[in-house]
Symmetry: C2
Subunit: 303 residues, 2 copies
């Protein structure tokens, strides 16, 4: 990292160790989880959320992070909040070996009201061309392994806020089924899977980050034609926060799986022998389904 005064933006020296490097980038926001950060006056965790979300997104191609840039927009700059956000960004970047190389903090009076703000980020990572994970080798019989999420991650907050409320009072209520307050459960930091998955990438045919759109919105992106993913939803325990949301919101099961990750933040697709190796190296990886032969519209089955 060569960043310094006199230069706009960030400079990142790539180095010479690459054969055929492919840059993988993703830009995303935190969504309306930000409204809860405002209500709870707690800003560092959303910084971690956006970094970890981004790290996972590019990890699905086999890429590891190089650098990250952030965009923070507020009606009136509040230095203490910006500092908390940047502390969160910085901690998560460090955890992922990613340089926090630059960004923009914008004051936009009249666009953001009260304490509202927006937070987005861009990650750039790298993968050798012959190590790109594209899903094209996925075949019937391959195993679906699931890694647990820490909660909603960064998706489904508009619905969650409608169901559980978003006032300080709503969020501070201790919920016995959660063993914590509603706000604590909802603000749980988006988990990064980099550390666990990086050593296992050569064993993997496909990775799916379960974000907005849930299983049906994300899994088909990587599946070759003529295949479908059949999940055995009894193979993992749905986290209490999702049970609470379903019950309080009277939300039907299908919609739950369309909006939320339901306790699985990352799906690994691997041949059976490789899947066994992965589970041996990473015992938390749960066998949650199989790739099946299937022509037709339905690419995801949630049994």
């Amino acid at each position: 990292m060569l960043a310094g005064p006199g230069l706009f933006g960030g400079l990142f020296e790539l180095g010479k160790g690459y054969k055929n490097p492919v840059l993988v980038s993703s830009m995303d926001g935190v969504g309306t989880k930000l409204k809860l950060a405002v209500a709870l006056n707690s800003y560092d965790s959303v910084g971690m959320d956006i970094v970890n979300h981004s790290v996972n997104d590019i990890l699905t191609t086999g890429a590891v992070p190089l650098f990250f840039l952030d965009y923070i927009a507020m009606g009136k700059l509040a230095t203490d909040k910006v500092c908390d956000i940047v502390n969160g960004l910085s901690a998560a970047c460090q955890e992922s070996g990613c340089a926090l190389i630059g960004g923009e903090t914008a004051e936009m009076p009249g666009l953001y009201t009260g304490e509202d703000f927006d937070l987005a980020g861009t990650i750039v990572g790298i993968v050798e061309k012959d190590a790109i994970i594209s899903g094209r080798d996925i075949t019937p019989g391959d195993v679906l392994l699931g890694l647990a999420s820490t909660g909603l991650h960064t998706n489904g907050y508009s619905l969650a806020r409608r169901v559980l409320g978003e006032s300080r009072e709503d969020l501070d209520r201790f919920e016995p089924s959660l063993g914590q307050t509603v706000g604590q459960a909802l603000m749980a930091v988006h988990r990064s899977y980099l550390r666990e998955l990086q050593p296992l990438l050569p064993l993997v045919k496909g990775l799916v980050h379960i974000t907005g759109g849930g299983f049906e919105g994300n899994v088909p992106r990587i599946m070759p034609e003529g295949t479908a993913a059949r999940f055995d939803t009894s193979a993992w325990a749905v986290s209490p926060i999702f049970k609470l949301l379903q019950e309080r919101g009277n939300i039907d099961r299908d919609e739950m799986y369309r909006v939320f990750n339901m306790g699985i933040g990352m799906v690994i697709i691997a041949a059976p022998d490789r899947a066994a190796q992965i589970v041996k190296a990473l015992p938390e990886a749960k066998d949650i389904g199989r790739i099946i032969r299937q022509n037709g519209e339905q690419r995801v089955m949630l049994d």
Copy 2:
């Protein structure tokens, strides 16, 4: 560009032609120029604004664009507006030989009210390490050349909106001194200097993109210690929109130069012989000052 279904974010194959590549990135927003886009129901030009702004930012290091990602956030997604924005992004990216590789369109009910939206973007470009323009060779006697801006570019809109108004009626008023409506003048697209400057980069010691903070906020970033930039402000004609803003807002001269680009969007710093070559190749480049020897606080003089 390898982007395709099944992959999150964008993939960009770097190629093998680089000796010691340095990635240069910048993330930025359009600022409150967006409020005028909403008032005028005109969305494509802000897409061009953010791309061109970003292209210029990394160009100051000598980098040329590789790819761009965008972030669009709205309270409720309006497909037609998103399309117009993306058309603008796309046209400007094409103009700069930059791949529009991905992005995020976020629906955030409760955060953006009415038709408000936010637009940010990240550019990633590349420069050979030994071709980085850092400003460190700038010495007294070097020439300051100015390239005209097309208007406010993307800075000073909070002040401009206060002075000239932001209702449809305010913006549709024809202003004889401008030869166009106030809205047309304020919405003029941020100019990209890539096409003109790319062939001249080897002749240049420093480039300064005049953005938020005007001359004083931007020029010192690149200047070595012991030097200052003395501008002869009589060397160029301040554009009519700035005269109108100054007069209507009763804004003093110093503040005008602190907030606005005053008609100069890019400053080139070059040794006198190189400056002569540049002017020969690019006659619009105006001699607007000199680098002088100066110790002390004041790094920019606006004579």
